[in-house]
Symmetry: C2
């Protein structure tokens, strides 16, 4: 196959100390290659933009290696197979995998597994939903809530980032499991949507002024908080710790309020952590990749809820690879409303 196509790519130019801005990225173009033996060429349709991406920019090994200077920025996404020398993938297949921030992903045989490349079925959900409820955010919500949180009917579940990708599924799933669910989100519009459209029992607007979170927790969690699913860290984590119920579980999924700290230094820790002692509670971290073997079961359950309307999803889709630097930053400013998706090409 010869191809005249150009592949636009976004590469890491230098590491940000705080917020990554346009100067930290380098836009390049190279000819689209053709797959080697058992390789696959995928046209990128939509990419998932996630808080964790900020961590990959720091020169510090976390649960995944950092993106190197000059490398194409890492991102999961949905694409269409446009050339294949691999029997497992046919031209026209829709696939999910680590496709990275570019227009075309050439995946050699020896990287197919590492990139998690897998065919997906658009009958189960839209491209946006495959990056949201049926993708990593949904898997994170599912296993974080079910395995770490272990909800029981009647318990009170609080989730921060409630209108975000993970939060929206955590809350709806907790409702389906019979819990009382209180979201925390930024702004009236998000809070109203979380209650009206998703059916949360209440939502606290953390931007509603000093003391709003404390007052909201007091009003909406009269018996304390049995499960707190934390996506944000910082002051909100501290406020919820102060309201834990006996034997509470705090799921540490992320800390978006901390990710842009200077030199990736940790900020203040949760001052109220001794609430864990008084309340015999636990705080536990989770990384979604550990549950890969069980993704199919979770996807089947969640797709069922989407199909019968018991679960809704919201994606915030921004078009154009060239908007990547600013679009990513919407996450850290709380500017996205729903799962943030970068549409690279129309389907």
């Amino acid at each position: 196959m010869t191809t005249p196509l150009a592949n636009q790519q976004v590469r890491l130019a230098k590491r940000p100390e705080t917020t990554a801005t346009r100067e930290h990225w380098h836009f390049t173009s190279e000819p689209v290659g053709e797959p080697a033996e058992r390789g696959v060429l995928v046209k990128v349709l939509s990419l998932s933009l996630d808080p964790a991406m900020r961590g990959w920019l720091n020169d510090a090994r976390s649960y995944i290696p950092p993106v190197q200077i000059g490398e194409v920025m890492r991102a999961g996404g949905v694409g269409r197979v446009v050339a294949s020398k691999n029997a497992a993938f046919a031209v026209g297949d829709t696939v999910y995998g680590t496709l990275n921030v570019q227009e075309y992903a050439l995946v050699p045989q020896d990287e197919i597994k590492r990139s998690g490349l897998a065919r997906i079925d658009l009958k189960l959900g839209s491209i946006g939903q495959w990056l949201n409820v049926l993708g990593m955010p949904g898997m994170t919500a599912y296993f974080g809530l079910m395995d770490i949180g272990q909800p029981k009917a009647g318990e009170t579940v609080v989730v921060s980032g409630a209108a975000g990708a993970v939060g929206q599924t955590v809350g709806q799933l907790a409702k389906l499991k019979g819990c009382r669910v209180v979201g925390i989100a930024g702004g009236e519009a998000k809070c109203q949507w979380v209650v009206d459209a998703l059916g949360f029992d209440a939502c606290i607007d953390y931007k509603a002024g000093e003391g709003a979170v404390r007052a909201g927790l007091k009003a909406h969690c009269p018996k304390g908080v049995d499960i707190y699913f934390d996506n944000v860290g910082g002051e909100i984590l501290d406020q919820v710790l102060a309201k834990l119920a006996r034997k509470a579980r705090v799921v540490i999924c992320g800390a978006i309020s901390q990710y842009n700290n200077a030199n990736s230094q940790p900020g203040a820790g949760p001052r109220n952590y001794l609430s864990l002692l008084v309340n015999r509670a636990r705080m536990e971290g989770m990384v979604v990749f550990d549950y890969a073997d069980r993704y199919p079961l979770a996807i089947a359950e969640l797709a069922g809820y989407l199909k019968d309307g018991r679960m809704k999803s919201k994606e915030d889709t921004v078009k154009g690879l060239e908007t990547f630097p600013e679009t990513l930053n919407k996450l850290f400013a709380g500017g996205n409303f729903g799962k943030l998706v970068l549409q690279v090409a129309e389907d």
Copy 2:
């Protein structure tokens, strides 16, 4: 029964903002009463002085109500029954219970259960050991390590306050369960004792200068820390969090470094708590009273270890009720070496 005996008592005079000093206590004397129907009169022999006592002085409900102004200070202790109108207790019985900081404890029928009054067998251990390995510190060590920590042979266990009441039993028990055990204690003498007498694999002297804990953890925990049993909180907790192994368990038992903070405000939280996320680790609080039903089993196991010499114990015994204010503060200055016991009367 008439008695000319005077009962010396130590009462809370006012709440301390930071360290409790002599001005916060009030020494009183009153005639010893005689037991009412089904009540018991106990002569106090030795009292347990514990870090948790500092928390009871704050006007804040914790897992146990605060001591009220004017009340006799709460303390667990061992005593001898000197008068009884209760069939369950005979004159001459040695008992453990909440006897409080005084020479005689008059326990009415309706307070026998609440005070945990129970006969103890001095053939299983000395009075000091009944306040240490066979008492609340030993129970805390046993259930914190076994139930929350869940040690597996070959794992690395780190315990702070290693020469203290809880720490000495945690470390020896972890060794008996086949773990590699690293203590953290203040000063060379304690560290040497923990290694030489108790058989810990290593002990880090946190007073050995800037960076001592970090360097010690690096040297002695090459595979990271699987279980951290935390008695101290503060900077040491943060250092250990940075060294957690995958799937680590952090047992939050206490935070002695924080208990004298002004106005009982929490100090800085553990900045490195996101290590829980990266390492899929958990941090869990425990309160020993929850395990009361299982004390007898734990006492039987630990008494067996004491008897056959597989476990040692060390008490730091100070004589005289009048020394109570200064003796209590040894705990917070790290001045005690072993379980701190206040001997009120010779047996």
